[in-house]
């Protein structure tokens, strides 16, 4: 087992960076919760419900634009022959997985907000429908990735699916402008790029966006690292198994001529005594048949 490969450990600097981002994200989220629940005032129209504004748009920003946008760019860079590297493939995969989590959070937080303001958890509105379609499209991407395939082929195929799905992102963004939807227009990323929110609420909203972005970056880095380890495990396991078999074959062949490799040459033959059941032991393989000697043909 000395041949077991160990994936290269993260450098202390990389580990420190990931931990710092994680800590900054945790502090940012705590700050958002404090500002959102205690410091900012309730809204004139929506009352305390407006506090969802510090979660829902931020989560949607991460899912729809940051995560899926990054996945699309990474897929494009993978497909571009000059920048083709499995780094982009793993980055896209990590971004999609984290994006799907944030997309589900977007739909759930939107539904919780929708019930008291619109009267329904779900409305068949263009923006909501397109966001749900986006979720299903990227679930398809994850399903495709799970299929066992050659890493290069899988990467290429996944990159195409990601790009096709990403066509939905701009349609989703502009849906509130193109169709008269129940969902309100963009508060921050509107065509004039002038946020229609002021005072402490604007600051809290900004901090929520930054903290959720940090949460995304932290999750992305951790997921990317897991992806690398998974690839090591996938390719390493076979190498370890092969080397183990080769080592067993050669040591058995040199130690005892009677226990060399079998006819197919795929591995060492079972040692003779193990095929002879002891009188007290049961006979699971059915080697002892009625009227026949206990020792099989090959061992005699």
């Amino acid at each position: 087992m000395s041949a077991t490969r160990v994936p290269p450990p993260l450098s202390p600097r990389a580990r420190w960076t990931v931990r710092s981002i994680g800590a900054a994200a945790a502090v940012g989220m705590a700050l958002t919760v404090w500002l959102g629940l205690w410091v900012t005032p309730p809204d004139q129209v929506q009352g305390n419900l407006v506090r969802l504004v510090y979660i829902h748009p931020g989560v949607a920003w991460v899912a729809l634009y940051l995560a899926f946008g990054l996945a699309a760019v990474a897929s494009l860079l993978y497909l571009w022959p000059r920048t083709r590297s499995l780094f982009w493939d793993r980055l896209a995969a990590a971004a999609v997985e984290v994006g799907v989590v944030f997309n589900v959070c977007t739909l759930v937080s939107g539904s919780i907000w929708g019930r008291p303001t619109w009267g329904v958890y779900w409305a068949w509105d263009a923006r909501l429908t397109l966001t749900a379609i986006l979720l299903v499209l990227f679930l398809g991407y994850i399903a495709l990735r799970r299929l066992p395939a050659d890493p290069e082929k899988r990467a290429k195929r996944s990159a195409f699916v990601c790009l096709f799905a990403a066509v939905d992102i701009p349609i989703d963004h502009f849906s509130v402008l193109w169709w008269r939807t129940l969902h309100q227009g963009a508060t921050v990323l509107n065509p004039d790029l002038s946020p229609t929110i002021h005072g402490s609420m604007a600051w809290t909203l900004l901090i929520s966006f930054l903290s959720l972005t940090l949460v995304f970056v932290w999750m992305l880095l951790v997921r990317y690292r897991i992806g690398v380890l998974e690839d090591w495990l996938g390719s390493g396991e076979l190498d370890v198994a092969l080397r183990q078999r080769q080592a067993e074959g050669s040591s058995a062949g040199t130690a005892d001529g009677a226990t060399g490799t079998d006819a197919l040459g795929t591995g060492p033959r079972e040692p003779v005594p193990s095929l002879v059941p002891t009188p007290s032991s049961p006979d699971p393989a059915g080697v002892v048949a009625a009227g026949h000697p206990a020792v099989p043909e090959r061992a005699r």
């Binding site: 398809g140 399903a143 395939a149 290429k156």
Partner: protein, 223 residues
């Protein structure tokens, strides 16, 4: 490219004309789906007429999945896919040819299903050009996305289950826009309501046809 398009489309359509799979299985499946939808809705004709646009497009969507599966399956035996790659045909022509063949089959199907919803559901069409335009544009979009995903899923052992999962959500805008245009083109609708959805279909078709022309070659290599 256009010559190759005609060649490939002609090949696929000839295979269909000889095997009659589309005619004897896909079209009847569409009609069965219409009848089953009617069972699910009950005998109320006003409700059936109101639901006709959506049910028509849903039936088309399901049949499109079958047509795409069939289009992929004809290439999956006897090394036909490798043969096509070796033939030196332009990948863009190959994509357009396969998409045209699927589109031609879907158009035939839509005529049958269109007559079906008028007869079975009592749908009254008031603006025929809107209905025809939606069918042509919707079919083009379905054929383009279907051909792309068909090529992506070719060679996968789980093709039959994966293809609908990937294709149906991506084709959802066609269902949405097609249904709205049909509602605009039927009794009670106004033609102006359909125009913005027609624009969506035009954009959808343009995006996926352009994507297909550009990326079909690399997709074939990855399959």
């Amino acid at each position: 490219m256009w010559r190759d398009t005609l060649l490939v489309a002609g090949k696929d359509l000839r295979i269909e004309a000889r095997s009659r799979v589309a005619l004897s299985q896909v079209v009847p499946f569409g009609v069965v789906a219409l009848v089953l939808f009617a069972f699910a809705l009950g005998p109320d004709r006003t409700r059936m007429a109101a639901g006709a646009p959506g049910l028509f497009w849903l039936a088309v969507l399901f049949c499109a999945v079958l047509a795409v599966q069939r289009s992929v399956a004809v290439e999956s035996v006897d090394g036909a896919r490798d043969g096509l790659r070796l033939s030196g045909l332009d990948p863009a022509g190959l994509f357009l040819g396969k998409a045209s063949a699927i589109a031609a089959q879907l158009i035939v199907l839509e005529v049958v299903l269109g007559v079906g919803v008028v007869l079975l559901y009592g749908a009254r069409i008031t603006t025929p050009w809107l209905i025809v335009a939606s069918c042509l544009l919707g079919t083009l979009g379905l054929a383009a996305t279907g051909t792309l995903y068909g090529a992506l899923s070719a060679g996968l052992r789980v093709r039959e289950t994966l293809l609908p999962f990937l294709l149906l959500p991506i084709a959802a805008p066609v269902l949405l826009a097609g249904t709205r245009i049909w509602q605009a083109g039927m009794a009670g609708g106004t033609a102006a309501d359909g125009s913005q959805w027609l624009r969506l279909l035009v954009v959808f078709d343009a995006v996926y046809l352009a994507l297909g022309v550009v990326v079909y070659g690399p997709i074939q290599e990855s399959a």
